[in-house]
């Protein structure tokens, strides 16, 4: 992107709140049920059915407010946002317009060691809409199927200030927000399942200019990657338009994942008038200071505190600490390994390299993974006591990850015990050295590489089970 322009980004994030039942009725929120099996007269918009606030939703909203350093006003209220759409049964969404439950907060992102504070304008409670299934565009499809299971699931919409200046910062913000929401226990934050959704507001302006440029809103950002790509694409589009003297429209655009570009959805002129007004079915909420303090006392450890703990207690680099605190499950895995195997850096290395590699490959969450932390600790001990080499451990790890077996089991099954017996190894070395007089000569003439040849041959002869340290020692003696 052109150097003389600055990108300005703000994000609107919808997090599905982790509650058993919906925000205004007692229907289940379970994911993946038969279409329209979790629906009642209220969430299907039948006449006479009324909303009653799920207290758990309010608690989770307050918890989020605390985690995001927000003010939690004494009063907040619900408003109706009116518009017609087949996935919105009442033809209004119950949301919070001018008096949200949380406002004026912030979170901090780490940009290569530099901490940047991103302000949060507000977080408010609202209900989700249903899901439509149809071919292509809704205006041309022959029919459309409506699934109302998701309708009325409690959401928290978290709106940042336009404080981000690059796709990378936006991604760091969303990752940090996700960690915080996970640690606070308020949302599952599964982008694939739609329990964390993100819209980006983007504008560009000449560097040094105070006034913001024309803003577009981008929807349908279903992964961290599409967030980054879409912002990069959109910023480039804005810069090009400005440089070509074209007028930018304030509009809503959608990210086309397939074509990797943004497309116009609707312009500001076409924007709906939502006719917000206080929902007369729901009395305003008064949140006492005592209640907030009570929830504050019960707050779980949050990512920043956890990172600090890892650095302080184990002397881990900030980089490691940040990765280990991506999710509470990941941190818990670390904490459980470290209880048994106390070398934090070794544990961190194994988690960041091998464990992450296999989790990514298999697309698994750490909580679903067969490999349990206690078993990783046991494997690390086997390396330390010389039973297996570091190299063998990688094979063992792969098997443990796939089958959930313990390291000793895998080692035994595969006959992978390391050979450290000097007598046995000496005999093998003897025969290899004797069988390659020319290479011995090369080595003695100063060709260091020849040493590696012998190590390789010993390993080959022992199917990799020879203890490398012992082999090194014996070879050196032999070749002296």
């Amino acid at each position: 992107m052109s150097k003389e322009f600055e990108t300005v980004i703000g994000l609107e994030v919808h997090a599905e709140l982790k509650t058993e039942s919906k925000i205004f009725c007692s229907c289940s929120t379970a994911f993946g049920a038969e279409p329209n099996s979790q629906v009642c007269p209220f969430c299907a918009g039948f006449p006479g059915a009324l909303p009653v606030l799920n207290e758990k939703v309010l608690e989770l909203a307050i918890r989020t407010g605390i985690a995001l350093n927000c003010e939690i006003p004494e009063y907040c209220k619900f408003d109706r946002k009116n518009y017609f759409y087949p996935d919105l049964p009442a033809a209004y969404q119950i949301s919070q317009f001018d008096q949200p439950v949380c406002k004026n907060g912030y979170l901090e992102i780490d940009l290569d060691g530099e901490i940047k504070r991103i302000r949060i304008n507000r977080a408010h409670m609202e209900e989700d809409a249903g899901k439509l299934v149809h071919q292509g565009d809704i205006t041309t499809t022959p029919f459309s199927l409506v699934d109302l299971n998701r309708c009325g699931i409690g959401l928290l919409e978290i709106v940042s200030e336009p404080d981000m200046r690059s796709a990378r910062e936006a991604r760091a913000y969303l990752e940090k927000l996700r960690s915080i929401l996970l640690f606070a226990g308020v949302s599952d934050c599964k982008m694939q399942e739609g329990s964390l959704r993100c819209d980006a507001n983007i504008s560009v302006r000449p560097a040094g200019q105070e006034e913001l440029g024309t803003r577009t809103e981008i929807k349908n950002l279903n992964s961290f990657r599409s967030l980054e790509r879409a912002i990069e694409y959109e910023a480039r589009r804005h810069v090009e338009a400005i440089e070509d003297g074209e007028e930018l429209l304030q509009e809503t655009r959608t990210w086309d994942e397939e074509k990797q570009l943004t497309r116009s959805m609707r312009s500001k002129e076409e924007a709906d008038d939502y006719r917000y007004f206080p929902d007369p079915d729901l009395p305003p909420l008064r949140i006492s200071r005592e209640r907030i303090e009570e929830i504050r006392r019960q707050m779980p450890e949050l990512p920043d505190a956890a990172q600090e703990r890892l650095v302080e207690t184990y002397g881990l680099p900030h980089y490691d600490a940040a990765i280990l605190t991506t999710t509470p499950d990941y941190l818990e895995f670390f904490d459980r390994v470290i209880k048994i195997y106390p070398d934090a850096k070794v544990v961190s290395n194994w988690m960041m390299s091998e464990l992450n590699k296999y989790l990514n490959q298999s697309n698994l969450e750490i909580s679903d993974c067969l490999l349990k932390p206690e078993k990783l600790a046991e494997m690390l001990q086997l390396i330390d006591d010389g039973t297996i080499s570091g190299k063998m451990a990688k094979t063992v790890f792969a098997e443990m990850f796939n089958s959930g077996k313990s390291a000793p089991e895998v080692v035994k099954e595969k006959g992978m015990v390391q050979i450290s017996d000097e007598k046995a190894l000496s005999a093998i070395i003897e025969s290899i050295v004797n069988g390659n007089p020319k290479v011995v000569e090369d080595y003695r003439n100063g060709k260091e590489k020849a040493f590696g040849f012998f190590v390789g041959q010993v390993m080959k002869a022992t199917r990799g089970q020879a203890n490398p340290a012992v082999v090194n020692k014996l070879l050196k003696e032999k070749l002296k």
Binding site: G48, A49, L50, T139, D281
Partner: protein, 487 residues
């Protein structure tokens, strides 16, 4: 014996005494309906089969008391499980709910027997039932006159002897005005006193479930059954429900009654003014202290109401979009057309008028000037009442400016029609309880007196109304079908 003429308490006594069965009552009422319904046009749906079945079951058990074994009617915007609930609209002509309103559920649990669903102005928007999508109901005192509205079907049925009592809703006078026109008792309790769950919403901050009955005593009995906190309605109040019947001692001695001068002007006819003043003198005779007061902001209640109520209605009725239930235009080419065509065909003119008014009032740029301002006016109206209630126990006024008007007389004169609610609307705007009881006949037509009480003090309201009733005979007057007076 003409059981259809009896009140709930009279029926209860006979059941307890073993003189009659619930089946006898059902039989008598259906016979009565067979005679007068052709004229009254009160019912949209009759529940004959289930009514007989319930009566037989209760008779087999043989235990009576309260409303057990006694039939009732429901304004057809109370959702009834398995029974068509139309809101007198094409939109819901074939709508059968899978759930039951809390109020009717409470009656059913006490052994009340639903006899049928009663006519109303479409979605409760109107003052005559002439806005019903199906047919207008008629006033039993004069078949050529309206029974009032929107709960006109309920009032006509109770007055004509088709049903001993009915539940209805009151948003701006929809219970009290028809009660007044039909010479019966109509109670709108305090906002939040009775659950609104399962009652199709018109204006959520004003709607309240109430009762139409032949006398105050029945009203007190039924209120006790339906009042109270409902976990399904966040706006229902968690305030203790007293035994209202225990307050009915016929005494008003020392009670402080105010009459607001503004409520005797606003187009109130001379004879109604005189009738209510006479009723006030009756209270004085009975030992009450009666004084004139002022409720200066009440004159703004009607214009403010016609912002607030349509605004809320415009969003409450937005759910009728043809997607999940109700009227759907089958020819629409796309989803946007389906929305607009279904709504254009499913709603009648008055409903459309109010949806448009309300949509406008909530529109961006107009919200502050209309809705917000109306809500401020509302606070002023409530403050006026609160001021008076510091010194008085009760406020008395006429219920309506006129007696029942002719069918068709006001149908094209929307403003005059809206004026019918001028004296009842302020009570809804302030969320207070109000009751209309018959206090005179004017040229053969009933005149209603409105009593307004403190929030959640229905007990005082009923006590005073009962005392008046005990010392007068107006509640005993019943119409002879086709005109004239019985007894």
């Amino acid at each position: 014996m003409d059981l259809y003429k009896l009140t709930v308490h009279e029926l209860q006594d006979k059941l307890l005494a073993g003189e009659i069965t619930s089946e006898d009552i059902v039989k008598s009422l259906f016979s009565r309906i067979a005679v007068v319904e052709e004229k009254a046009q009160a019912f949209i749906t009759l529940c004959e089969e289930t009514a007989w079945e319930s009566a037989r079951r209760i008779d087999q058990q043989g235990e009576y008391g309260g409303i057990k074994g006694i039939p009732y009617g429901l304004k057809d915007l109370f959702c009834t499980r398995g029974i068509k609930t139309t809101c007198a609209s094409r939109m819901l002509e074939n709508f059968v709910p899978s759930y039951e309103s809390t109020a009717s559920k409470l009656l059913n649990e006490k052994g009340g027997i639903l006899l049928g669903k009663l006519n109303l102005d479409e979605f409760a928007m109107g003052s005559s039932t002439e806005q019903s999508a199906f047919f207008p109901s008629r006033n039993p005192w004069d078949w050529e006159r309206v029974p009032g509205g929107s709960s006109g079907g309920c009032a006509a049925a109770v007055a004509a002897g088709e049903i001993p009592f009915a539940l209805a809703s009151d948003t701006g006078g929809s219970i009290r005005q028809p009660a007044s026109y039909c010479g019966i008792v109509g109670l709108k309790p305090t906002y939040g006193r009775v659950s609104r769950w399962g009652v199709a919403a018109f204006a959520s901050s004003l709607d309240q479930v109430g009762i139409l009955s032949r006398n105050v005593r029945d009203c007190a009995l039924i209120l006790k059954i339906i009042a109270g906190k409902d976990p399904l309605d966040a706006s229902s109040a968690d305030i203790e429900v007293p035994d209202y019947s225990a307050f009915l001692d016929g005494e008003v001695k020392g009670m402080r009654i105010a009459y607001p001068r503004e409520y005797f002007r606003q187009g109130v006819t001379e004879s109604i003014r005189t009738a209510v003043m006479k009723a006030l003198r009756k209270f004085e005779e009975l030992g009450a202290i009666v004084e004139e007061v002022s409720l200066p902001h009440s004159e703004y209640a009607l214009p403010a109401y016609f912002i607030v109520a349509p605004a809320e209605a415009s969003t409450n009725l937005a759910r009728f979009d043809g997607v999940r239930y109700g009227w759907r235009d089958g020819e629409a080419a796309n989803v946007a057309d389906m929305f607009s065509l279904s709504r254009a065909q499913g709603f009648g003119p008055e409903v459309k008028r109010r949806i448009m008014l309300g949509t406008y009032a909530l529109s961006s740029g107009y919200y502050d000037a209309y809705y917000l301002k109306a809500m401020k006016v509302r606070r002023l109206i409530a403050a006026d009442f609160a001021e008076v209630f510091r010194d008085f126990d009760l406020i008395v006024s006429p219920t309506t400016p006129t007696t029942a008007f002719q069918l068709g007389e006001q149908i094209d004169d929307t403003l005059t029609l809206y004026m019918n609610d001028a004296l009842t609307v302020p009570v809804n705007m302030a969320g207070l309880p109000g009751i209309s009881i018959p206090c005179a006949l004017d040229d053969g037509l009933p005149v209603g007196m409105q009593l307004i009480g403190r929030a959640f003090d229905e007990a005082t309201l009923l006590k005073a109304a009962y005392a008046f009733e005990q010392n007068t005979d107006y509640h005993r007057l019943t119409p002879v079908p086709g005109g004239g007076i019985n007894e």
